[in-house]
Symmetry: C2
Subunit: 165 residues, 2 copies
Amino acid sequence: MSNLEAVTVAVSPAEKYREYLATQNLRMTRERAIFIEEVFSSHEHFDADQLVQRLERRKDGKRVSRSTIYRHLKQLEEAGLIRKVARQGDRDLYEHDYGYPQHDHLICKKCGDLIEFHNEEISKILETVAREHGFRIEGHRLEAHGLCDNCCKRPDSRPKKMNLI
Amino acid sequence: MSNLEAVTVAVSPAEKYREYLATQNLRMTRERAIFIEEVFSSHEHFDADQLVQRLERRKDGKRVSRSTIYRHLKQLEEAGLIRKVARQGDRDLYEHDYGYPQHDHLICKKCGDLIEFHNEEISKILETVAREHGFRIEGHRLEAHGLCDNCCKRPDSRPKKMNLI
DNA sequence: CTTCGTGCAAAACCTTTGCATTAAA
DNA sequence: TTTAATGCAAAGGTTTTGCACGAAG
């Protein structure tokens, strides 16, 4: 799905998380370890429910409850390890933030496909605009909505199923 | 809140809505008339619940039920009269689309303030990117998150209350 | 030991829907 | 008179929370 390369990072996400927990006087539990492993095991975008299902499917029986997943998603976001990309249906979609280059998305309104792209100019423009307003940018989110190549050509294409059991 | 001028339009929002309804064989009811009047009575951003409250507060007793509000919000969006700007908390935030120039937002993560800005370059860049992917853009949404001027200077500032009754 | 973390079930929330009634055209 | 629109209450779906129990440090 992505044609971007993951950047090389000095510290693994798990390590980064551990550091974050330390600064907050929180503990690295069995659940948090499983959770971060699962979250960073694939570079695809994901939502809370998909994570629940992935964790239910694990062969080693290491489960993490739904509530804990929600709690830790929020926490990983605070730690700067993941970020919300967009909404899909009525769910928040997340993606890796740490160890992954800044990028934005083209989102097909028909099939729901997300196409990543990277453009240096956009951040520069934003910096300029922000300066004019005395605003300090910490990050941005840019989604262009429309029709992807496929859906332009075949107007009868179907939306992707999101929750195949 | 905004320093952008509304553009002069040939047709009023209500008129535009009426045209849209006609094409869909839908009816201009008392409720829809009240609804669109209320929606376009102010250029501020708003969410569904704020609209419910504004309509409850009306002196003339012209009420519109919550379900109808949700139904018509969706419809005004389809008609291209309003659009979703962002999420605030767990609600969708809307703003006028028709009769209002294209713009994007700087969003203060502390006080929640939305600063509008307009930049031609961004759309051009997006068009270029889209072309490379065979993607047809119909619109975009760009939010830069960070700290506004005020919150940079006074780190103890409070978030705005969103639902003062 | 003491505090934090977890799972469960229930709650909270926003949003959507079914249905009987009312009202456009 | 026909078909769409409305309000109400109930349902849906996601996310959050209270609480008792278990575990990390």
